[in-house]
Amino acid sequence: MRMVKYNKELLETFYYKMMKIRRFEETVERYFLDGEIPGFVHLYIGEEAIASGVCTSLTDEDYIASTHRGHGHTIAKGADLNQVMAEIFGKKTGSCKGKGGSMHIADFSVGMLGANGVVGGGFNLATGAALAIKVKKRTNVSVAFFGDGSSNRGTFHEALNMASAWKLPVIFVCENNQWASTTPYRTTTAVEDISIRAQGYNMPSKIVDGNDIFAVYEGFKEALEYVKAGNGPFFLEAKTYRIKGHFVGDPEMYRTKEEVNEIYVNNNPITRFEEEVLSEKLMTEEQLKKIREKVEIEIKEALNFALNSEYPDPSEIFDDLYV
């Protein structure tokens, strides 16, 4: 059985990270729909296995560059949940003091270099962070999370070529969730597997089931070994599906509820994990429940923290522009 090699701690981490993201997103969705959260919110529901499977193998000294859909990455990388929640509510106590919001969530203290409102803005940032790692002869890695749609940006190409030409320690993790906003990715993307593009940069690649955290974890470990051996970058494509609308409030006129529900029911990374560990008797329902309870407490705490925090004072508008 493939899972016997995973110890209890690791299994708990997987479940904990995924559940934390899921419950965080559900909470944010509710408060957004209630009009309590300003701006744009892009939810990571259904894709939790990717950020969780990847970030489990990273430390605070490793970097990630994220996307507009960045809550999952941020949480999986270990950012302070209270601050993340407060930021999304626009509070002074948020990680960005209320200046960023959902689309610009970041926590530099754990190597999370920021979400990005510009699709494809993260490729070069991650590449640059990897360059710094190499120049400083550190043993860390840098990870760029990105969507299928963003792989059509020129920055994808420039970053991947530079990373490979310079053999930088960066792992490009494609979250192929089948959609770029309202557009099925295949209608504007010339290839089925984004990872085939890695060949154009002399870069190894691997495709994994992005809704199977074990597959993501293993695939990423392979990437990590390759990259840490000094071979240069690696391309990991995780196939998944965007369960929610592109943003909260999206009328979703471009697909049917049935299509989405089908996947939510049958290919939900969290349900799949639960069923698998239970049927393999690697975890008990009791254990899972304990984790869920822990998550619930943390979410509630983060929510209270956010709700009870103050908004920034208008005068703070001029802070933090220049050093």
């Binding site: 300003p38 701006g39 209320g98 200046k99 906003s181 006129m253 208008p314």
Partner: protein, 322 residues
Amino acid sequence: MREITFSQATLEAMAEEMRLDEDIIVMGEDIVRQGGIFGQFKGLPAEFGERIMDTPISETAIIGASVGAALAGLRPVADMHYADFLGVAMDEVFNQMAKIRYMFGGQTTVPMVIRAPDGLSLSAAAQHSQSIEAWFMNIPGLMVVTPSNPADAKGLLKSAIRDNNPVIYFENKILYKEKGPVPDGEYFVPIGKAKVAKEGSDITIVSYSIAMKKAYEVADLLAKDGINAEIIDLRTIVPYDKETILESVKKTHRLAIIHEAVKQGGVGSEIAAYVAEEAVEYLDAPIKRFGAPFTPVPFSPPLENAYRLNSEKIAKGLKDLF
């Protein structure tokens, strides 16, 4: 006159022009299946089929291919999704689109329009809230229009599509839902001509796009103090209408410029400088510019509010001129 929204006005302009000219095509991200992120393309795909195209997330290709298509006989309209993404395609805009006609000695024209939704909306934050029209004042070869109401939105868009020069059409995101009177039948608003939106005798207020709302508010506030402001809606910022501005300033002897974009290096700087160059002797007071503070747009509502133009503050500043 019938009242329709700004968004609908742009739709009418597009549909009317597309019916008349098969060479007009439209491309942008997410415009086919849901009619654009602000609904500004709704219904066009149904009527015009393959002439409305969803693009990859490839802004350099959207603008660059539009330029190439224009060179080969089409009249593309390219949607930028958000004006904030013009930076991605900036080389295509300023080194290709703007220069091709001139640097090739007039061999060709580049008849195309870039539609660029801009401005503050509700906490869209630093990368989705910008107004960057001032950059393009400094780039020869483009025309730049900035409608402030549904009637102008339609008339300027039709003019832009018909024009054989490349035009950037900045459309404010908040204005999309605003209703206003729009003439029946075909009409055009000429590019390069400002409109005296309100006549007045005591001070000239120059504005455009969403900030025109503030201009009216400010004029109302000033009126309470017996100050009769003249309001000029620039409509086009490249080329801007020097005559209309000068004429007004010579009459009122005072000038203020209001825009939502960052004040420093903004359109207001050019207008102020022009008047200080050509009509300083007519001025009875300093020229006042009002625009955004020199910071990126912050996310949190109280910060974003502090960032916005404030009619009371502007009116107060202007009263001090008297």
